[in-house]
Symmetry: C2
Subunit: 148 residues, 2 copies
Amino acid sequence: MTSTTEHGSAGIRAVAERTGLSVDTLRWYEREGLLPRVERGPDGRRRYDDAALGFLRLVQALRRGGMPVAEVRAFVRMSAEGAASHGRRMSLLERQRAAIRRQQARLAEDLLTVEEKIAHYQDLIDRGLDCGGEPVDEATAALQRRRC
Amino acid sequence: MTSTTEHGSAGIRAVAERTGLSVDTLRWYEREGLLPRVERGPDGRRRYDDAALGFLRLVQALRRGGMPVAEVRAFVRMSAEGAASHGRRMSLLERQRAAIRRQQARLAEDLLTVEEKIAHYQDLIDRGLDCGGEPVDEATAALQRRRC
DNA sequence: GCTTGCGCTGGAGTCCACTCCAGCGGTTAG
DNA sequence: CTAACCGCTGGAGTGGACTCCAGCGCAAGC
């Protein structure tokens, strides 16, 4: 039996594979207070249970949404304070929700920008033209069609 | 007449404001080859015309989509090669399109994760419960409702 | 009993993408 | 004329987020 699963908790390697974070990063997150202290097995090794994995999922959502490490840490500290910080935690998450939505909007624009450019190149290649709209010679046209 | 507009080209400050990049970053992008050489006015200052602004827009789309500076530079170098690199440039953009779409998918998941958590806190606050599902005392409930 | 493989800790090192000068020049306002 | 602004260049410095050891322990396989 490997570290993949042992009575419902996962070893650090398995978690790294599932999350896309590196083993070093997982340990570093913990040291830096982005995760509450992870429980250990009898051999002193980290065992991530469902609660830890769920928390990690939230941390990843925050980080990917562009929240700096320091702010995630602040959130985690609040989590340790118990019920009294619920309102503040919720505010922070609401700000993050707004940030994610802004990012989505920008990303959608960026996608359009890139797609437009792709269509433009496709058109030039199809018609054998250069960027100035002049026809290119056959040798160049062949190169033009050559993908990377 | 400020630098905002002068026969259809913009000064560096105006461009910085429009793009959200800093003046230093704009100059640095150029030095690092993320932008083709920007034209200068008679006083030696940068003047960004529509072509430059369009290019900059694409560069921003690539960067925000997570493309590293080195790869953007490679794209810009290809652009200088003319029509022969159209195919390769298109491939690069297609890879970027895929990257943006992956990012969109992840971001949508992250949004869900955050929204779920917000709803969870809202529920605990509404019902005056702590994380373990136990009722909290009135003093704590008041704190709980307190936003940041 | 060895060796191989994983994981642990604490600390140092690296990489990327900017960001910040110092020292200079041209233009505009008082 | 002088001062206040911009912007220019080349180079140095910074901050954030990892990433990479060295040196150790434990458990399994040969």
